[in-house]
Amino acid sequence: MPNASAGVALLVALAVALGSVLVVLTGTLVAHRVLRERGRDAAISRAEPARRLLAAWATSAAGAAGIAALGELVAALRALPRADALRLVVNATSAQLPRAASAALGAALRDEPWVRHVLRGAGAHAWWRRLEAARLLAIVGGVADAPTLRRLLADPHVAVRAAATRGLRAAADAALVTDVVRALPAQPPSLQRLQTGELCAHPEAAEGALLACLAAPENAAPPPVAPPTPAPPVAALPTVARSAGARSAGALVAWAGLAAALRRPRAAAALLPHAGHADPEARAAVARALGACPSPAALRALGAHLDDPSPTVRAAAAQAAGHLGPAGVRLAAPLARGLADTDGGVRLHTALALAQLGEPGRAALRAARAGGSREARDTALFVAGLSDGALLELAAA
């Protein structure tokens, strides 16, 4: 039967091909492991001098010995393959080096050929090359690199934007800070939080930009901040920059988070007109920001938030009142009402806040333990039994 024999021949061919693939694959796997281990040993010994110099630099960066060691370190890094040097520098500055030492190392490396090569990757098509550039720019960048940083902060890949955010501290000018503040609501929450932290390194510029954003009329962009020098054409930051004046709930949440981090009274005061925003998340964010910058007006607004229809806002207001400590003592009476709230989260944050307000708060808790509703009693008992560490941990969360 010719068909059957042809079928068998085909199967034989397939079996031989598959068997060959399996043999090659098996051999490759084992050989790869053996060669890789040898290569790893070689790489470790190759990088060892630079690693040792980096460790020495980390401990003596501030002194004369550190300055001498820096030249050696830069030379040792230059001798390494580019990828090894990059990994060593990025890992060291992430985990070990104090900020000042990291900045000094960055300045010394800025004109190294391998550094310039990696930084040229900021315009590359491959996202991982842009990521490498962003990571290195965060270490070696200065204000002159603001245009490159701006491009990386507008990158479509979030990992690149996050890495570039680390460069804001050293490489941002006032115009870039303004743009970052305006674009803050367009970023994903994790990046918002990271950028908020880094913007705190530029409190004046960030506060100015924030005030402009909050004061701008609805659906209108805030007045642009002129860059200190004529800027070359660079990429625009993400979309919200065009409609930054629109105080949607999301925008207000982002900017209120920045105000809370900046802890500047003018920023908090600029939030007061938005304390009655229609969205509960926005009101809660405003309440948290007001708790970070106490003032008589902020206390009045927080008092109003304690009676908000939304439990999210009431809980946030109670938590913010607790963060005020003794400065929020005049909120003790409205807070005490929250011990009988219908929402468990509000009751818990209220009790935690009262425990932080000093004697008037503790008196309210004692009163709740002696009487009142069962929920109020249980919550007061719960907080009274907490260790100091648990109290602080719960109040912070």
Binding site: L11, Q187, P189, S190, D378, A397
Partner: protein, 492 residues
């Protein structure tokens, strides 16, 4: 007597059907592999010079409650809790749920962590067996212990969900060894700005690994066949099975031993279903349904580099019970949510993932049995070509081994957790041996599951463990065995 011609024709038709089935299935696995390679590459690139230590001092990651149900684990519970408390993460609490232990689990915790009882402030949003007491620790402010009547793992997790404060929960088995930075690594989707409903990590086999102070300090592949071959299974299931699904519409399974969930969504679907044999798969399928029906765009990605280590059965009888239970869970879940099958309303989950799990996973043992039966019939009536049959088997064997070796290759090219060349050699050896006996044993136990499901038997079995690390752990007889989800099945 010569058999009638129609019987030969029928045999040929059935043969072609079985052949086509396994060809299609293995080809689909190759597609999964092709999808997993770029995913792995992306994670590898993101991992290079990662800023993991820096993340600890930022507020980029959401707060997480670690939920750890425990039942009769007095010997290991103190070390387990300590390993959860010392996870590297900016903000997390540990909610240990003592699920009606009959031994000294609670007493050990009270003593080791200086627990004190606190009144209940948690809302019982999910119904559970009665909670006896809540405890907090004077030594670790982030530790909460819920002591409740026994109700099984799902019930315990629901009690944990009620007590949890944070927006995300990590469900782990109390005897799972979670690597210190695993939770931090699970946060990658958050860092990438993804809207996330759940995140899955990798579960690996701890048998034969060197364990100290509740941590795996050096990973090895067991020299014992049964544990070693399961290491290959787990690699295959996670490295290209799960990872490939990231691009094909999402996983239907996130292991109950190691997965992060958005608490809001879990509460919205009613938490874990206590009556389910596979509570983890049941939850994930319900989450998919909930998100699709409400038009919520939230992903459930699998991240390959966060690792938790779990012990796998070292004895055939225990393995058999485990595989039979996994198969029952799979069947029950697929039946329960059968309306999602090939339903375009559920997008790629309904049109790709669900059909795959029905036809490629649940029914695979039946088709394999059919294949063996046809072979026997063919041999009996002289309908099998003497040259064709062995070659066909050689090819089927080779195709299966190829998939396993490619999984080992992915491991070698990416994470290389196993320490020595000997470990790689063992992985290769077990990949070669797996189809010769081991597979048939697991297929047999999976077929038993059909019988038990037909009888309406959906109870958990008993899971026997040998323990790991310093000193043997007790053989825990649990109503809620801390096993992984039905996730290492493979049809071919």
């Amino acid at each position: 007597m010569t058999p009638p011609l129609w019987l030969f024709e029928l045999l040929r038709g059935a043969d072609l059907l079985v052949l086509g089935y396994f060809l299609a299935l293995n080809t689909f696995y190759l597609v999964l592999l092709a999808c997993s390679a770029p995913e792995l590459r992306q994670h590898d690139l993101l991992l290079k010079e990662d800023h993991l230590p820096r993340l600890l001092s930022t507020e980029m990651l959401p707060a997480v409650s670690v939920l750890a149900p425990a039942h009769n684990e007095e010997r290991s519970i103190v070390a387990s809790v300590l390993s959860f408390l010392t996870l590297e993460y900016p903000q997390h609490e540990v909610v240990l749920i003592n699920d009606g232990s009959a031994d000294g689990t609670l007493a050990r915790l009270v003593e080791a962590y200086d627990l004190y009882e606190v009144p209940s402030t948690a809302r019982q949003a999910l119904p559970t067996q009665p909670v006896r007491a809540y405890y907090r620790s004077r030594r670790y402010s982030r530790l909460v212990v819920v002591d409740k009547a026994n109700g099984g793992k799902a019930d315990a997790l629901n009690a944990g969900l009620n007590a949890a404060r944070h927006p995300y929960v990590l469900a782990v088995d109390a005897d799972t060894l979670v690597e210190p930075d695993a939770l931090l690594r699970l946060g990658r989707p958050f860092l990438l700005g993804q809207e996330v409903a759940a995140v899955a990590g990798t579960v690996r086999v701890v048998n034969a690994c060197e364990v100290a102070h509740g941590r795996v300090v050096r990973a090895h592949v067991s020299s014992r066949f049964l544990a070693g071959v399961q290491a290959v299974e787990y690699l295959r299931a996670y490295l290209f099975g799960r990872l490939g699904w990231n691009r094909l519409g999402g996983n239907l399974i996130i292991s109950g031993a190691f997965g992060v969930f958005r608490r809001e969504f879990v509460m919205a679907v009613g938490g874990y279903r206590a009556s389910s044999v596979a509570e983890d798969m049941d939850l994930v399928v319900r989450l998919h349904r909930y998100l699709k029906e409400r038009g919520i765009r939230a992903a459930m990605p699998f991240i390959p580099d966060p690792v938790a280590w779990t012990e796998v059965p070292g004895r055939l009888d225990v393995l058999g019970r485990q595989r039979e239970r996994w198969q029952r869970g799979l069947l029950a879940t697929l039946w329960q949510y059968r309306a999602m099958l090939c339903n375009p309303r559920y997008g790629r989950v309904g049109m790709i993932a669900f059909p795959f799990y029905v036809f490629g996973e649940a029914l695979a043992p039946v088709v394999e049995l059919l294949g063996w039966a046809l072979l026997a019939l063919g041999l009996a009536i002289g309908g099998v070509d003497g040259a064709f049959a062995p070659l066909f088997f050689a090819l089927a064997y080779g195709y299966g081994v190829l998939l396993s070796l490619l999984a080992v290759a992915l491991e070698e090219l990416s994470f290389r957790r196993y320490a020595s060349v000997a470990d790689v050699g063992r992985l290769v050896l077990y990949a070669l041996l797996e189809p010769l006996g081991y597979r048939q044993i697991t297929v047999w136990h999976r077929l038993r599951a059909f019988v038990r499901v037909a009888r309406g038997d959906l109870a958990w079995g008993v899971m026997q463990r040998d323990g790991f690390g310093a000193g043997p752990a007790p053989a825990a007889a649990s109503t809620a065995p801390p096993a992984t989800a039905p996730d290492v099945r493979r049809a071919a």
